[in-house]
Point group: C2
Chain length 398, copies 2
Amino acid sequence: MPRSPRLSRRDFIGRSSAGIASVATVAAATSVGFATIPSRAAGRDWRIRNAAADALLRPEADDYDDLIKLNYNENPYGPSEQVVAAMTEAFKYASRYGYPDRAVKSVIAEHHGVERENILLGAGSGEILEVVGLSLLSRDKKVVGSDPSYSAVYSHASGIHAESITVPLRDDYSQDIPALIDATNRHYRDVGFVYLCNPNNPTGRPIPADDVRNLLDGIPADVPVLIDEAYHHFAEDPDYASAIPHVLEGRRVIVARTFSKLFGLAALRLGFAVTTPEMISVMEPYTTGSINALAKYGAVAALEDTDAQRHMRDRTIALRKKTSDELRGMGYDVIPSETNFIMVQTGRPAREVRTAFREHGIVVGRPFPPLLNHLRVSIGSEKEMAMFMAAFREIFAA
Amino acid sequence: MPRSPRLSRRDFIGRSSAGIASVATVAAATSVGFATIPSRAAGRDWRIRNAAADALLRPEADDYDDLIKLNYNENPYGPSEQVVAAMTEAFKYASRYGYPDRAVKSVIAEHHGVERENILLGAGSGEILEVVGLSLLSRDKKVVGSDPSYSAVYSHASGIHAESITVPLRDDYSQDIPALIDATNRHYRDVGFVYLCNPNNPTGRPIPADDVRNLLDGIPADVPVLIDEAYHHFAEDPDYASAIPHVLEGRRVIVARTFSKLFGLAALRLGFAVTTPEMISVMEPYTTGSINALAKYGAVAALEDTDAQRHMRDRTIALRKKTSDELRGMGYDVIPSETNFIMVQTGRPAREVRTAFREHGIVVGRPFPPLLNHLRVSIGSEKEMAMFMAAFREIFAA
């Protein structure tokens, strides 16, 4: 049931997580359907992906290797043998700056049907998201996006003294495109860029291709739109499509992609933007240009290893369906996911539930306000998902 | 012979590279002893360390492995076996974000006599230098430093729309501390930070510890000073000392260090800042937080492998002396170096000379204006330096 973009955020929150004081405070400021997150308010959780800020999974934990890690949407299989072999080859250039890099930018460009001039590399797509913030935001320029979404974008904006204008999800967890268009147009003069995570994290929902086009058509053409396709490879919905063709139309669209998910190279740190040469010239001075040799070699091998890609994708999608079906069979609502994680409405606070899972040696996703009674669970291996389901049955036996 | 800080830059340039039009243009604006580099003027050479922008050493070159690479001040030996073994171990975490990281920050802190709260990691010290620029510079805040020095700092400033105020080196290639103090105090309101490269690149000259202290004492205490100690490990001069103790005094000093040089991990991308927790809180929002797992494991192993450190350091210093002595024996001035490179005054344009070396399969340093008749040569292995000397004798036989 699509909602009017003018409905207040309080209505939405009232239904999904009534009585949470901190959320209500934000909602009080949102009488026209979007909230403003002030700068420097959101603390440091934009660093969560890299620093394991999750208190239930400290990197110094003795039992890290034994834990079942379903909290960061990681690839449970790791890179393929060919990819590890390619990375190992790069050790011979460990002490060099200007080594042969397997033409990684050209290879990425070719695999995505664009030119080398359309590619900007980052140390993970996280660097791409930050570079967009650094180059397009300021005390006077804000980001517009949905909430909840990948909150690192808003936290980073806050850290660099920029505000975020956020629009709540609809009741069906879809992103409210008319409200995003409205928020962008109302604040046009103050908008640095619009952020779309597609499919969205933490809900797993895709934005239909028609809606992406409607958004681009509905806002001034000079407003850059960052479309984060970190979970692109796990989407099956025929209404979903990558936004790369919009880049080729010459629009100010920046598509962010990563080698951290399907390609299993999160710890190697490589991502990239597909965008126009004009946007790259704006963004590039804010990049570190600091990609390690092994990530470059691994990425080229990973793009070429289509068997491994298919294998990982198929297993993940099959387990996503199996787990979702089992949970639904037990009477729980599971948000239909097009990613490598699912979100289940457990009716109990995620904070409590994840502590219970931790006692079973399983780490699941942190709470994602205002969806505080939902649990985000990454799709692990077959064995891991069987153990997750066994623990789920015990924890929710009562 | 120390020069007055009020002497014009034209005097200096007149003696070192007379008649170079582009340099003279800069000099014309510097009647009080320093030049202002306008923002967005310096192009993109801040990326040179990572992207092999050197036209004589394209990464796609078929003959890269066979070339003798004496242009980027790289470690010719690469990481030790123990370091490679440690990195290989980290492959098991390739697809993870929150893996055990060998407590790399604590290990670095302990090795440098500071607390974990004094350390900020970067993807190479290059990221640290850029983060200082991003967090402290703006259209209204400039960097003050020597010229020539590590120009990436000024180019990066320019790329993010900030100006640089530069002070020429003295005749003996030392950094002109009184002039740097004078420039900082004159422009106090507009200074974002002061940059010192110590020992300096491209000259190899150290700043005596007393001069560093004089500079810190001679400028307002709230002006941050970035001291780039990338070549720290190769300095033997008893007058040189690391500035880390100044951090512990609570001064606004940021010491940048790297694992790229002595530790042979340039392609892995790890560096760090040693500074106050207050400065870290200012800088951290501008970091990517994106350090790959292998760099972390390699760095910890490299710090522990003191045998390899000593071996690499001793060989480099011995070859630096040997090469310098041979060149001096042939009648050439060599700037006394405390780094892993030397600079020799050949009396011929570096641009020409490096083309001649390239024909011998050797790549030497690019021109460093205004020292256009000097050649910067990285210290390679014994065999590489023998081949360098043989080529030098042929090229300069006339």
